[in-house]
Symmetry: C2
Subunit: 324 residues, 2 copies
């Protein structure tokens, strides 16, 4: 049986309005409040947030749009987002857009219709027209042409750090290996600042940047590596790519990290609390998630927020670089 406010009101000998006020911190005489709270507890009453949503157009629900959950970065991110939301009494709709921008638009439409209070989105597809600066929306890694709030790791510093860590460990001939998409996003800084830093330090480097979706990356990378046999340090766009590169290197008879050192990007761990899968530039995923949630809630509450949040990265030792 479902307990409604009416029952609680009856039980406490007050009107439903009073119960509502108790729930929403309206002004109620202390003694009445006590009585109502007792009734709530006794009947184990829980407000119906559908009724509330209908009335207030506030749902305490946020949609998280991910391009895919396969990438461990996304799943860890989702994990932290949910945790932070929960603390703030929000629920999370998970939405895998799968690069399907129709589905993304659908969720964005949900905001405009008050079905979700806001959206956090990692989306590299072309939905710029739908994202206006006044709807509660926080983007990750991606700046839109409009001045949408976004959170990102310091990808530029990441690119530079990779060069430094590699060069510190004796690498003389670097390479960047990655994939990219046409839409502008912050991850492109990884390559850009890798190059800038190499140039500044006058280090030799090669670049293999493949347009996604990747068709036969294995063969492309293998060819690239065979052609550039003297490479002794590689920086990849992300950790999965680093793993693939390691496998290819092994096949080519190169030892990692003795012959070639590899640094990925993300900070992917073997499992919770364990070490890193590969040596990597670590994104502060938890911080990013928390910032995103905090910003979104601030926007929902009508506050002004900083448009751009950049969080610091660090280096994580994962066995694909030499010990210092």
């Amino acid at each position: 049986m479902k307990i409604t406010m009416k029952e609680v009101a009856q039980h406490a000998g007050v009107g439903v309005g009073t119960v509502s006020r108790v729930l929403n911190n309206g002004s109620v005489k202390d003694s009445t409040r006590k009585r109502v709270e007792a009734a709530i507890k006794e009947l184990n009453y829980q407000p119906d947030f559908y009724a509330r949503g209908l009335k207030t157009n506030k749902t305490n629900t946020v949609a998280l749009i991910l391009p895919s959950v396969w990438h461990p970065f996304f799943s860890e991110f989702a994990f932290h987002v949910e945790n932070r939301l929960e603390v703030n009494h929000y629920k999370l709709y998970l939405c895998n857009s799968s690069g399907n921008s129709e589905k993304e638009k659908e969720y964005i439409q949900m905001v405009t219709q008050n079905k979700v209070d806001g959206i956090i989105g990692i989306t590299y597809s072309d939905i710029d027209d739908y994202v206006s600066s006044n709807l509660p929306f926080v983007s990750i890694d991606r700046y839109f042409t409009e001045d949408v709030t976004y959170v990102t790791a310091d990808n530029s510093a990441g690119g530079r750090l990779a060069v430094n860590e590699l060069s510190k460990r004796g690498c003389q001939n670097l390479a960047y290996i990655g994939g990219y998409q046409e839409t502008p996003n912050e991850t492109k800084s990884r390559r850009k600042y890798f190059e800038i830093e190499c140039n500044q330090q006058q280090i030799e480097y090669q670049v293999l940047d493949m347009l996604e979706p990747l068709l036969d990356s294995w063969a492309t990378i293998e060819a690239f590596l065979m052609e550039n046999d003297t490479i002794d340090g590689i920086f990849t766009i992300n950790d999965p790519m680093a793993i693939e590169v390691c496998k290819i290197l092994k096949k080519l008879g190169k030892r990692v990290p003795e012959d070639v050192q590899v640094i990925g990007f993300d900070g992917q761990r073997i499992s919770e609390g364990e070490g890193y899968l590969v040596s990597t530039i670590v994104q502060p995923i938890e911080k990013m998630a928390h910032s995103a949630v905090d910003l979104l809630i601030a926007v929902i509450e009508g506050k002004e927020v900083e448009k751009r949040t950049v969080l610091p990265i660090s280096f994580g030792e994962g066995g694909t670089t030499k010990k210092l």
Copy 2:
């Protein structure tokens, strides 16, 4: 501005009841239906599912409870669940219980209050009392004492297959390395049938089974491996564990797969569409997710369903076993 049914009705020159009937496939004269549909399209009307939920106690929402999303198996699973739900016009609340059974109970309570229509749960904690057999609930990998519907990969066959694949590749001295929890769950069959198969084939084997949460698994495993120096084939409870074991083996100067071959469990891929991270017993994650969703929806619709669904596994070559 929000368009309501009333507007649509006015626009089409009918009553709201008729619009509702059109939406819910009630009997409406064809010409009227056309007119209403036109109005809906023209005004870009979208039903308010909060109002609907309030009225019908049907929310078209399912909660997915995961112990954590860190484990790639879970995230891939979530991905497929969401996709399948979406096809059936359901939305997904993501809930990371983090082993926090309070949070799990909270969501289970939501079902009883008609806030979600059902739950899919991977949960190893002790919430048996709350899971009654008549609420729409589908469990993964875990059977409860009550006759709750559940879906699982064929873990027994997986344990056996691991032994066979290892022995086929010349291993003579096997080991099982894993972690376990007290609550009964299907993953325990992995070890059990590994042992059964070894015994049947009269293959030597060792077992290292650690109670979770794992404190210093690295050291424990390292000691185990040093003590049992002749081991040449290892089967682990899951892929992350296989990766850790590989790293430890490397540190101990053993080559994988030349000296020691390793098979994990899950079928974790480097990234979407790529190869396997390690050689592994592949769970049909997508099928499991789809089955779970289909079963859950069937239960929600009041149909009788098979309590136990066991899906076949397979072997996936991932570079930590020798080529045949």
